[in-house]
């Protein structure tokens, strides 16, 4: 039997919390000085962090935690495997170890083929160099020889649609062109193993579609192995043959994409016992979703009473509040709120784009999305949020943060407590009455009507 192309055995990665951010000489000297004076190094600053680490992730030494713990799985040649998990669960750490950017603390992985990882589009592009020069440079960084890049060059340029600007320095490119060229280089490499992390989140819809098309082509025609991290459940379902779910650094499930998606979204709903209907990040102790310029503070689900809750009556409005902090002047910011069903189908996506002021000054903001009563079905939903400046950059990659349940007799679909199909169930008005006359009686005959319709 053929050996699996990727074998992962008990891979673990320990992070020290103090390692976040580059340490300064002063800090190191400071802790050295305190230890010299016979006191134990102060841990007060990290104390709060310790408290927040999930108990099963606490590492062997103080202030350390397992970003990844005892993850084992195999991947067959030609398999496309989806990786699901909440932000911070350890997905990126896994990809970083497998693409040799950082070393594991324990465990071992064997890769039987050349690996190309696309953890971010356009890394390695040099702004002063032209598009043509950058294609070769980026190809080389991703491990192609000059001859290989030259052979693929025309295909890459055609895919990226930047033909006319080939000899322009990429610093003059629009962000769309930049992303297209970068994805094109990586997609046309011929690695045996391709790792893709959220890159499809950037770029416009047409390009995303093109990228997804290219990825299924890579799978179908070239038989390559693909690792695909995404919050796009639809893409995972259509591209992947299997999926793994990572929770708190551990692999909890390796199954068909549909089963993993359902399990993942159910656990998002079930995982919020005390903090019913809200989630928040303490900026000092754990990285909040977002960038330095804009990051989430918290999300609240509120009912008509104004209290946070996670159970709602079907005929009542739900206010979803997104609290976020802006640290730099930003233009054209857009939040996207997706309501997903437990199976990963998108019920609908709402955006505050036309409700946002064009420029956001630094400060704390709240965007409230009011979902009217009588819209959602009687079932469980998951709230996904992303934020970007369209055509420019991603600020918060799509993530699923909260779940809620809609129930109650007020449901408009039916008074019976049966499961009702459909991602949503909007209140549709019906009118039922008894008639005195048959309006069809005056028509010549039903058979002629059918004929006319033909």
């Amino acid at each position: 039997m053929e050996k699996p192309i990727v074998e992962v055995e008990k891979l673990s990665k320990l992070y020290r919390l103090g390692d976040y951010g580059a340490s300064s000489l002063r800090e190191s000297l400071g802790s050295w000085w305190t230890s010299v004076r016979g006191k134990t190094a102060s841990t007060t600053s990290h104390h709060a962090k310790e408290m927040l680490i999930a108990s099963n992730r606490i590492g062997p030494t103080p202030n350390s935690f397992w970003s990844l713990k005892d993850v084992s799985f195999n991947v067959r040649r030609g398999e496309v495997i989806g990786i699901l998990g909440r932000n911070g669960a350890g997905k990126s750490t896994l990809l970083k170890i497998l693409s040799r950017i950082t070393e594991p603390t324990e465990g071992r992985a064997v890769l039987r083929g050349r690996v190309v990882s696309l953890l971010e589009v356009g890394t390695g592009f040099h702004p002063e160099l032209t598009g043509r020069e950058n294609v070769f440079l980026n190809g080389a960084i991703l491990g192609m020889t000059r001859a290989e890049t030259a052979r693929k060059f025309d295909e890459i340029v055609e895919f990226a649609e930047v033909g006319a600007f080939l000899d322009t320095p990429v610093k003059r490119y629009s962000s769309g062109m930049y992303v297209r060229l970068a994805f094109a280089v990586a997609a046309h490499l011929e690695p045996e193993i391709l790792m893709v992390d959220e890159v499809l989140a950037v770029g416009d819809a047409a390009f995303q579609k093109k990228c997804l098309g290219k990825m299924s082509e890579v799978r179908n025609e070239h038989g390559r192995t693909v690792f695909f991290v995404s919050h796009n459940m639809g893409a995972i379902r259509s591209l992947c043959e299997s999926a793994i779910l990572i929770e708190s650094g551990r692999l909890v499930m390796h199954d068909t994409p549909q089963n993993v998606i359902t399990h993942y979204l159910s656990s998002t709903i079930a995982g919020q016992d005390e903090m019913d209907g809200q989630v928040f990040w303490n900026a000092d102790t754990e990285p909040a979703p977002g960038t330095d310029d804009l990051f989430l503070r918290g999300i609240k689900l509120k009912g008509i009473s104004g209290a946070t809750q996670s159970m709602f009556e079907a005929d009542q409005a739900i206010n979803i509040e997104i609290h976020y902090q802006v640290a730099a002047r930003l233009r054209g910011v857009r939040f996207k709120l997706s309501i997903l069903t437990q199976d990963g189908d998108v019920a609908f996506v709402a955006t505050d784009h036309s409700f946002q002021p064009t420029t956001l000054a630094p400060g704390i903001y709240r965007s409230v999305c009011a979902i009217p009563g009588g819209l959602l079905n009687r079932r469980e939903y998951v709230v996904g949020i992303s934020c970007d400046i369209p055509g420019e950059r991603m600020l918060i990659a799509q993530g699923e943060y909260l779940g809620f349940t809609v129930s109650g007799a007020g449901n408009q679909s039916s008074n019976y407590p049966e499961a009702w199909p459909g991602a949503v169930c909007p209140r549709i008005d019906w009118n039922v009455q008894q008639l005195d006359t048959d309006e069809f009686a005056a028509l010549p005959s039903p058979t002629r009507l059918v004929a006319a319709a033909r």
Partner: protein
């Protein structure tokens, strides 16, 4: 398909603690095209969007030489061992500039590439190596300029007529190689240290300046008082610069023991630099 059958036995093993001194030669060779491109990028980006372009590689040392000639030659009257001051300084700067430019550019390796290093794998040694090679190209330009000046002084001025390179000139390439190894070693040390302590990047400029004055560039070794000669022992660059002068002018003070010491120190710095750098590169993505 033929490609994948070729790579049937190709295996990458990812494990913690890959020893101290393992250089992945196979990976370095596989990424040779990247090395060439990085060299090109390093060389071109230095003068892109400047009016005079690569001429700067030549103008810079000339300007410094003029300053040295006025300040140390004409004002301070520091001896140049009977060599015309312009040639003396140019020769010293030729060797020194190669060293200092590699170190100042390369020391920021982890900072200037942190975005890249945290997203893509490639042999990290290619970056400092490309700096050393690109700077070698600048060195070649400067060497040609120097040769022109040397020829002019030898033919047109009486005080340089007695200077001649002699048979020792054959050692010159070895000296350049030693500067390359030493500068790479120091660069690897500096960049690994600055990856953890960014403060050191600010100190870097100062360290290099101090190092320059501790190296016989504006003065000959023959004028160093006996009680300070131990400094020459400690500084591998001293022996290299003084050997440069012997090879080129046939004049200078080099004790064979100094050469042995200088080469041994260079080797030690180079090898320990690779070790330290590789230890840092494995986890640098966690810090940045």
């Amino acid at each position: 398909m033929s490609q994948s059958t070729l790579q049937e036995n190709f295996e990458i093993v990812i494990e913690p603690n890959r020893g101290w001194m393992r250089i992945d030669w196979r990976a370095l060779w596989a990424y040779r095209d990247l090395l060439l491109l990085l060299v090109r990028r390093e060389f071109l980006s230095k003068y892109k969007q400047t009016v005079l372009g690569p001429a700067w590689f030549v103008i810079n040392p000339l300007l410094t030489t003029i300053v040295f000639t006025v300040v140390f030659g004409k004002v301070a009257h520091i001896s140049t061992d009977g060599i015309p001051p312009v040639l003396f300084y140019l020769c010293g700067l030729l060797g020194w500039n190669y060293f200092s430019q590699v170190v100042t550019t390369g020391a920021a390796t982890f900072q200037s590439h942190s975005a890249l290093f945290s997203k893509v794998y490639f042999p990290r040694l290619t970056v400092p190596l490309s700096v050393a090679i690109a700077t070698l190209c600048a060195f070649a330009l400067q060497a040609v300029t120097f040769a022109g000046f040397y020829l002019y002084y030898k033919l047109c001025t009486p005080e340089a007529a007695g200077l001649a390179p002699g048979w020792r000139i054959v050692f010159l390439p070895l000296l350049v190689l030693q500067i390359g190894a030493l500068s790479l070693g120091v660069t690897l040390w500096m960049s690994a240290a600055t990856a953890k302590y960014r403060d050191l990047l600010q100190l870097n400029q100062f360290i290099m300046q101090l190092w320059m004055y501790a190296t016989p560039i504006i003065y000959p070794v023959s004028k160093i008082p006996g009680k300070w000669l131990w400094l020459v022992w400690l500084n591998p660059m001293s022996t290299i610069i003084e050997s440069f002068r012997i090879c080129i002018f046939g004049q200078g003070t080099v004790n064979p023991m100094y050469v042995v010491g200088s080469v041994a120190l260079t080797a030690a710095i180079f090898l320990s630099g690779i070790m330290f750098y590789q230890k840092t590169e494995r986890t640098v993505a966690d810090i940045a």
